[in-house]
């Protein structure tokens, strides 16, 4: 046997399993789950990693939304550093966005990313690809080539397609190819020049706002185009209360739709921009919204309207962020704080049961993107994350494995730490003692 994780609380939504036991891994696969009493009442198998019931052993976390910056912006992140950072955050598979330089809009670039990914030593990396050439508004990319070459889905993240006609054509191809279209919902004519949520805080700070309606209008349009084309629409980073309502309504009416929310959108409000003194680490798109929006996102995650949690990990170098707020790029790193924020902000206060949190982080994203992971069923790929739910720790940006340090959570005390990450049976990250 390669690896036995013994005495932890095994939580696997794909089997409805929540019990203490041993997880047995061999040859990169889950071999067996042996349920047993609380640790201490039975003897751990020799050579096993000993865990306790406050260690949750779960299917490896899947992040369907991150930016790894390679090729072209390796000063922010590389596939290697991003993969390591993701593993440290408990992620075993991550889907990276195509807004690289050049963008991932050709089979050649998909292949390049996959080659680099094969060399990376942490989380598995799978690219998403652009639906239009150059992530523009005009010409479709060769989506069949992109998907056959290994892209998990098609997206317009970072450069939302404004033309409904173009988007319709992209969606029609996605439907044919059987992959989701991942939509960044933003009506750019309403967000021009904006750098934070439009509201009381932006009015006082004198920063140009991005109204919630800009996200909601684009989302409503995209839902209507999904109805028209029959595509599976996956909505990236839902951040407003009414957007949650729109997704809920679309699901009720039978639209093929799924949605994700980011930890910063359920952990911070736009007040953070003021409280931090215009700290550019708080600048993100969609922007940090209001208390009411944060509560709606939490409810959406709890009731299943929002299917999963994704990081939108968006690294930027210090010199790019250490400028005037208006001039700073959007985005924050997220891999290494996502699990802890989920447990601190959602599980600990009782918004989400542990089972639902695990689902949001692993089995749901795997199911949405039809990935061969997200479960601990015997025989399946041995991607496993262990989180110590009792461990309190303070975020220190200097200790992040990501090449970039742009986190708004620096100095924040969180509860819950990913202590072990296993990718296809191989330990890629561990802070467990004795390992």
């Amino acid at each position: 046997m390669d690896l036995i994780l013994s005495g932890g609380r095994i939580v696997d939504p794909s089997q409805g399993l929540d019990a203490v036991g041993d997880l047995v891994i061999g040859d990169g696969r889950v071999v067996d789950i042996r349920l047993g009493g609380a640790s201490g009442t039975r003897s751990a198998p020799s050579g096993a990693i000993n865990l306790t019931p406050h260690h949750i052993v779960m299917p490896g976390c899947v992040d369907v939304h991150c930016h790894l910056r390679e090729p072209g912006q390796e000063h922010k992140e590389t596939i290697a550093t991003g993969s390591a950072s993701a593993a440290a955050g408990g992620f075993t598979t991550v889907l990276c966005m195509p807004n690289t330089d050049p963008p991932i809009d050709s089979a050649a670039v998909v292949s390049l990313v996959l080659r680099r990914a094969a060399e990376a030593k942490g989380a598995r990396v799978i690219p998403l690809a652009a639906g239009t050439q150059g992530m523009g508004e005009e010409r479709l990319s060769e989506m069949a080539d992109l998907v056959e070459c290994g892209a998990a889905a098609i997206t317009d993240d970072a450069f939302p397609i404004q033309s409904s006609a173009t988007l319709r054509r992209v969606m029609e191809y996605c439907r044919m190819l059987g992959v989701p279209f991942v939509a960044h919902c933003e009506d750019k004519s309403l967000t021009q020049g904006g750098c934070m949520n439009e509201g009381e805080v932006s009015a006082v700070l004198g920063l140009r706002g991005m109204p919630a309606a800009a996200e909601e209008i684009a989302l409503a349009r995209n839902i209507l185009l999904a109805r028209l084309t029959g595509v599976h629409l996956h909505v990236a980073h839902v951040s407003t209360a009414f957007a949650v309502d729109l997704v809920r309504m679309a699901k009720r009416t039978g639209v093929r739709i799924s949605a994700e929310a980011c930890p910063h959108h359920f952990s911070l409000t736009d007040q953070a921009v003021a409280d931090s003194g215009y700290d550019t680490a708080t600048k993100v798109n969609p922007p940090l919204r209001t208390r009411q929006d944060v509560e709606a996102v939490k409810r959406g995650l709890a009731d299943g309207t929002i299917d999963c949690i994704a990081t939108d990990h968006a690294p930027h170098s210090a010199e790019e962020k250490d400028v005037e707020y208006q001039f700073a790029p959007f985005g924050m790193v997220g891999f290494e704080t996502a699990l802890a924020l989920t447990f601190t902000e959602l599980v600990e206060p009782g918004h989400l049961e542990p089972m639902r949190a695990v689902e949001c982080l692993s089995s749901a994203p795997a199911r949405i993107f039809r990935l061969d992971c997200g479960t601990l069923r015997p025989g399946s790929r041995a991607d496993v994350t262990v989180i110590d739910t009792q461990r309190e720790w303070v975020v220190d940006r200097e200790k992040l494995l990501s090449r970039s340090k742009n986190t708004p959570f620096h100095g924040r005390m969180l509860k819950g730490l990913p202590v072990l990450t296993v990718v296809e049976g191989r330990v890629v990250h561990s802070v467990l003692e004795g390992m």
Binding site: E200, V204, L207, Y278
Partner: protein, 312 residues
């Protein structure tokens, strides 16, 4: 009493007592301006750097004059806006100027929050001379100084601020400042230039002029910029003038007897303010300018001089 802060960044963060102390200091320094030789040695050997990323005549001149009257040396830098995008960063510019011996920065910048950003880079006092659409605290203070001089008090006054509120740092600073001093503030402008969220300052919001200036002791007129029309926020300046222009007729019909008119300048005569109003005795624009020098002398003195009040 001494100033409780090292930087002047906004009026939102000041309280009434602190504002009163600054205004009192300015009142006591104003006398220097009427001397035949307008020079005192209070800040001899100190260097004040005015770093302006936006064009400005009166604010910059006012600061430099204030510094010179107090015998400080001044250097004035106007990096071209393009150098922000390519070339030296704001951060490096600040560090360079600090290394040359700057004792105090006066910063105007098109980005809200830039002076606050500067305080995290340099270890000398920073005065905000206007940052984007955020605040222009020294304008707010000189306006309070002027109004207190004319009316004898700020408390209980009805003040209407009229114009392009959305883009105005002056409106924000004055709304915070006047309400803190016990005045009641109304804010009026076209709905496209009026963020309703500014009620948080304590001001009341009006999208029509008439109810806003009814019974007002002060009508504070903001400059309207032609580019607002080009960017589709206003149908035309002609219509703006018809709806929001301050005319003698409107003032006499609606404002309180003895009402005064203020404007931060430069004025667009015939657009936001009728020429007859601009030239009338009740328009105190030149008082504002004169008070600007005294007020900035007070701030430089308090930030760089001593804690014991003026010696000269």
């Amino acid at each position: 009493m001494a100033l409780r802060r090292r930087h002047i960044l906004s009026l939102q963060e000041m309280d009434a007592e602190e504002i009163r102390f600054i205004l009192d200091t300015a009142d006591s320094l104003r006398e220097i301006l009427s001397r035949p030789i307008k020079k005192v040695p209070a800040l001899r050997g100190r260097t004040v750097c005015t770093l302006f990323y936006e064009p400005s005549t009166r604010t910059r001149t006012s600061f430099e004059l204030a510094a010179k009257i107090l015998s400080a040396d001044t250097i004035s830098i106007s990096p071209s806006t393009s150098s922000v995008v390519k070339g030296e960063s704001f951060r490096d510019t600040l560090l360079t100027l600090q290394a040359m011996g700057t004792d105090l920065f006066v910063i105007r910048h098109q980005c809200a929050g830039a002076p606050l950003f500067a305080t995290k880079i340099v270890n000398v006092p920073v005065v905000n001379a206007g940052d984007g659409m955020h605040e222009h605290p020294t304008q707010g203070l000189l306006d309070m100084l002027t109004l207190r001089g004319v009316k004898g008090r700020l408390e209980g006054l009805n003040i209407a601020i009229v114009g392009d509120i959305a883009h105005s740092r002056v409106a924000r600073s004055n709304a915070w400042g006047f309400t803190k001093m016990g005045a009641s503030v109304r804010i009026a402008g076209p709905p496209t230039l009026l963020p309703p969220e500014l009620e948080i300052t304590g001001a009341k919001i009006y999208d029509r002029l008439e109810p806003a200036i009814e019974g007002a002791d002060v009508v504070y007129v903001l400059r309207i910029q032609r580019e607002r029309m080009d960017s589709g926020l206003l149908p035309s300046l002609r219509e703006y003038t018809r709806l929001y222009g301050i005319t003698p007729e409107r003032l006499h019909r609606l404002a309180a007897p003895g009402a005064i008119v203020m404007h931060p300048g430069p004025m667009n005569r015939g657009i936001e303010i009728a020429p007859e109003v601009a030239d009338a005795g009740y328009c105190v624009v030149t008082d504002q300018v004169a008070n600007g020098v005294a007020l900035r002398m007070a701030l430089l003195y308090l930030l760089l001089g001593g804690a014991n009040g003026p010696k000269e």
